[in-house]
Amino acid sequence: MKIISMKDINKKIGGKQILSNANFELNSKEICALIGPNGAGKTTFLKVLLNLINADTGIVEINDSQMTSKNINYLLPKFGVMLKYPESISKLSINNLFKQHEHYMKVRQVDSTENLLKKVKLNVTLDTEVGKLSLGMKQRLLLALAISSDPTVIILDEPFNGLDVDGVDLFKSILKELREKGKSIIITSHSLSDLNGLVDSVIFLNNGTTLPKISMQVIDKKYNGSIKDYYREVHNND
């Protein structure tokens, strides 16, 4: 079942064409990696999906509903998002952060804060100040926050930053578990080897244009399962 559809997305910023007829589809129970070189437009692409940027042309659909200013407040709770860490939450305790998230999302937390922290193996007390956590711990916290409202679509921008090997493995197992529960996941990462064994499909974005989505079955056949080799080939051909 198609969850997200982005068709012919164009966006110019400051006279430069950042996205050019970019297309994307995501189904339920799918983990898709959005890869591309620096400056390819990946973050802009995600921002268009999340209504942080308005596309000049093109259509974004969530569950067959076109995203507009009228229904955006209804659609946003369907997303669980892990982007860059915001300094505004540094002074909050973990408990207050989750309370704030629940209040602003207008959606009950799917589990208690303690259980969510246990899930991401974050062994800290609820009154710990968020700003005092290490980078890896903050990443775990942000993942717990992103999944706390039981979203339909989970978007993760460079989630493996600052994680140790155990952290990466933990994240992968959590994401696979979420996929089995019917969630759809978009993930960007410059560490392509971390995506192996996790994603179901890959979409390559360069100079604002997307190549057709490729499944991991094809990458397994043609590139011995190496997303890096696929990346090198398409990037050299571009």
Binding site: L52, I53, S69, P77, P86, E87, S88, I89, M105, K106
Partner: protein, 234 residues
């Protein structure tokens, strides 16, 4: 904006009440004492505004309210403006109503708590001074109580205008510095003309204050429109 939303934001801001109250109290007290002493020591002039309760209170309340507005605008940098900068802005925008709804609620809650603290602090000093002047007879006994109330509300509304406008400017420009500087500039522009009004006509100053509050409401609507259409390009 629901009651629950407003209560939630007020609970976040209520820790600012005590400090704003104390600062308001101290500033009002110091300015009042200063101008009282100026009036008391300058008895040679026939009609010093500092020798009449209403004009003394009006002038000192205006000045202290404008100074307190700068202080509250500086506090707003931490509690409101910083939420609309960089990645903090992205974090908020991803919530339903994260653009206009949360901004409006935060603004209302912050203003409610701050203005209330300012009102209580300044009013307390003014009442104590009224009692003091009655007991000691240092000022003529003719007090226009309605004018006194009018001036109190006028200066609070003026504060509201300065704080709201500086917050709107800060959010619009995503700049902490712009918030503080705009509050200082507004105070510098308003101080002189309004000081004459407050000293001589409490009702005119109240009318001016009401007009300025309407202006700030228009600015808030503009800010909401901006936030609704804002693009997070970086």
């Amino acid at each position: 904006m629901t009651n629950d939303d407003l209560k939630y934001e007020i609970s976040n801001f209520k820790k600012t009440f005590k400090s704003t109250f104390i600062i308001s109290l101290l500033i009002q007290l110091l300015i009042l004492i200063f101008f009282f002493m100026v009036g008391y020591l300058d008895r040679e002039s026939d009609d010093s505004i500092f020798e009449h309760f209403n004009s003394l209170i009006g002038f000192s309340s205006l000045l202290s309210a404008l100074l307190i507005s700068i202080y509250i605008s500086v506090r707003s940098v931490k509690y409101i403006i910083s939420n609309y900068m960089g990645d903090n802005k992205v974090f908020l925008y991803l919530y339903p109503n994260g653009r206009t709804g949360i901004f409006q609620t935060k603004l209302c809650a912050f203003l409610l708590v701050s203005i209330l603290a300012q009102l209580v602090g300044s009013f307390l000093v003014n009442i104590l001074f009224l009692i003091f002047s009655r007991i000691t007879n240092v000022l003529p006994p003719d007090v226009n109580y309605i004018g006194f109330i009018a001036v109190t509300f006028a200066v609070v509304l003026l504060s509201l205008f300065v704080i709201t406008t500086s917050i709107v400017i800060g959010v619009r420009l995503s700049s902490k510095v712009a918030t503080v500087i705009s509050s200082i500039i507004l105070v510098a522009i308003l101080c002189n003309p309004l000081s004459f009004l407050c000293a001589y006509s409490a009702y005119t100053s109240l009318l001016c204050a009401v007009i300025l509050v309407f202006v700030s409401l228009i600015l808030v609507q503009y800010c909401k429109h901006y936030l609704k259409n804002d693009e997070v390009l970086r």
